[in-house]
């Protein structure tokens, strides 16, 4: 058996099964969907054991040089709390683990988000708009007006009426122009994915059909 051809055929069939969804839901799509979901779920279980659980927890608890680091029992206990959800009587324990995950996640992200999404942006906007040529000045003005009016749009404590409403309208207009540009750019990237898949079907898969049927070289 030629494993390469088998792989190409599997890839092509699953691709066609998934594309059949463009027509309507059908058994081929269902098969591909369940295969995809099931295989990826299984893959991620093993991935997490191999790349998260063993290196980040087990190997820290039992270091290579020998010994036992009891501190790592704490995350282990929290992990067991998550499994306690299986039994209704102990399910409440999982809230401790969930609270820990949400709290630590929010706390750690607060610093990085505030730094990158607020302070760095403010710093990047404080500059002279009068430097450079005419287009540079225009570009700088668009940037500053866009940032300030965008912030006004996201100001929730005052109704968007009067001057506030007009400024917010400028902000959302600039945002929509940016979204339009982003939309076009991403669509181009998606089309390249479609082209890649079409090339696979036309250049890799189609030529194997005559070979399997014994026609041509």
């Amino acid at each position: 058996m030629n494993w390469e051809i088998l792989g190409i055929w599997l890839g092509a069939l699953v691709t066609l099964f998934l594309y059949s969804f463009l027509y309507r839901d059908n058994p081929f799509y269902k098969f591909a969907e369940h295969l995809f979901v099931g295989m990826s779920a299984g893959y991620w279980v093993i991935y997490n054991i191999e790349n998260v659980l063993i290196p980040n927890w087990w190997q820290n608890m039992f270091p290579e040089g020998g010994g036992f680091d009891w501190v790592w029992l704490i995350p282990g206990i929290f992990a067991l709390f998550m499994l306690a959800r299986i039994w209704p009587k102990t399910a409440g324990l999982s809230r401790l683990s969930l609270g820990m995950i949400v709290g630590v996640g929010a706390g750690l992200n607060m610093v990085s988000f505030f730094q990158t999404n607020a302070l760095a942006q403010v710093k990047g906007t404080i500059f002279s708009v009068a430097s450079g040529g005419v287009w540079d000045i225009f570009s700088s003005l668009v940037l500053v007006v866009g940032v300030v009016s965008g912030l006004v749009y996201f100001f929730f404590s005052k109704a968007h009426t009067g001057i506030m409403g007009k400024t917010a309208n400028v902000g959302i207009t600039i945002l929509m122009v940016a979204f339009g540009a982003s939309f076009g750019y991403t669509i181009m990237a998606r089309l390249s994915l479609l082209i890649g898949r079409s090339q696979f079907l036309l250049e890799d898969w189609i030529p194997t059909i005559p070979r399997l049927l014994g026609i041509g070289g």
Partner: protein, 399 residues
């Protein structure tokens, strides 16, 4: 003749013997010359890296100007047990290195050796250092102050809200439609599908989404419609189950809560998208909520939702995905509107106070930007104002 030959042989042997006895071999001469002439590192200084989490020693040195350049430099380290090791080889010209592999509290001895022609040349002086961790990183004190001020404002508004002060929040179009969407699903006898994004519970957008899920769950419980929540992360599934269960209990409908409706599909991005698409076309939900962090699967989900005729309310803070939601959904919460949604829907003083505090911070930053830009621009013509802009830039700089 014989005497003459013997004399010549004697003289030759004598000369050769003298040469062997007095002059070292040529290779020895070369090595000695190299050892003398290759320039070495001097004035090596080792110190604990300041304001870090420990485990790090900073090394600085200078190079002799006399002599020829070595091929490379080796940083050597010895610990109290006496074990010596080469920790890194650096190109000639390097005058600093940070050893990140040290253990806190251990006294290390460092020295730098010059390599030339594959052999070890000269060594620098030795320098000692003990790495340790520090509690405070001064580069972020400015941020700490701003965060404390923000927290103070938020607490002030929360307390005001608790005391009964009305905290105004402007209308957010997409959220006003939440009740309508759930009501529509109830009338049509179809389920509501809630997709909390594809990231885990440590993601702020997922947290915001789960808060909104609680509100949507209360509505579905009140109206008696079915709520489906497929998740891409197992922890999100657990949290979603807790939140939905709580909501059903709060409205007195614990019997209507169905744990099986909140299920984990897969961590895989497109596997999840395929699974949710399947749910959409089979269950044909009348209302779909896409709130949270989304990536390339956003348009796949939104387009499929549109094709089944569902009313769709989406929201994300991912700038690259908002355009797809704007194009394919009925209502879109843009960026921070997603975070404001939970406060808007619940009207809880705690959340409203937080939102008001964030608005105060936004107002502060807007003023900062306007003053900064004006002073920087005028500063081009009148220098005293330039320092104002520089001060403001410094204020928001985090090292």
């Amino acid at each position: 003749m014989n005497n003459l030959s013997a004399l010549m042989i004697f003289l030759l042997l004598f000369a050769a013997g003298s040469a062997l006895a007095e002059d070292p071999p040529q290779s020895v001469v070369t090595e000695a010359a190299e050892e003398l002439e290759v320039c070495s590192a001097v004035h090596l200084e080792a110190s604990d890296t300041p304001e870090d989490a420990g485990g790090s020693v900073s090394l600085y040195w200078q190079m002799e100007i006399d002599g020829f350049e070595p091929d490379s430099l080796g940083v050597m380290r010895s610990d109290p047990s006496g074990g010596e090791e080469l920790i890194v080889t650096l190109p000639f010209g390097t005058v600093m290195y940070t050893d990140q592999s040290a253990d806190n509290g251990t006294e290390y001895d460092y020295w730098v050796v010059s390599y030339s022609g594959g052999t070890v040349g000269t060594s620098s002086n030795r320098a000692e250092a003990v790495p340790s961790a520090q509690w405070i990183y001064k580069g972020r004190i400015g941020m700490l102050i701003i965060l404390f001020l923000m927290a103070a404002v938020i607490i002030y508004y929360i307390e005001s809200g608790k005391k009964g002060r009305k905290l105004f929040i402007r209308e957010i179009a997409g959220l006003a439609a939440v009740d309508d969407a759930v009501g529509r699903a109830t009338e049509m006898g179809k389920p509501v599908l809630y997709i909390p994004g594809i990231m885990d519970m440590d993601d702020i957008q997922t947290i915001a989404s789960i808060v909104i899920l609680g509100r949507v769950a209360r509505k579905t419980a009140e109206y008696g419609s079915s709520l489906l929540v497929p998740t891409s992360r197992s922890v999100v599934m657990s949290v979603a189950q807790e939140v939905v269960k709580e909501a059903y209990i709060q409205v007195g409908r614990p019997d209507a809560y169905n744990k099986e409706n909140i299920q984990y599909l897969t961590d895989d991005q497109f596997g999840y998208a395929a699974g949710v698409d399947g749910i959409m076309v089979r269950e044909k939900p009348a209302a779909i909520f896409l709130l949270g962090t989304f990536y390339a699967e956003s348009l796949i989900l939104a387009e499929t939702g549109r094709s089944v005729g569902a009313i769709q309310i989406a929201g994300t803070a991912m700038p690259s995905q908002i355009p797809f939601f704007v194009a394919a959904c009925d209502y879109t919460l843009i960026g921070e509107e997603l975070f404001a949604a939970s406060a808007y829907l619940s009207r809880e003083p705690k959340l409203l106070g937080s939102l008001k505090g964030q608005d105060a911070a936004k107002l502060f930053f807007m003023i900062l930007i306007v003053i900064g830009v004006v002073s920087a621009t005028i500063g081009d013509f009148w220098s005293p104002l330039k320092s104002v802009a520089e001060f403001l830039r410094k204020l928001v700089t985090v090292n």
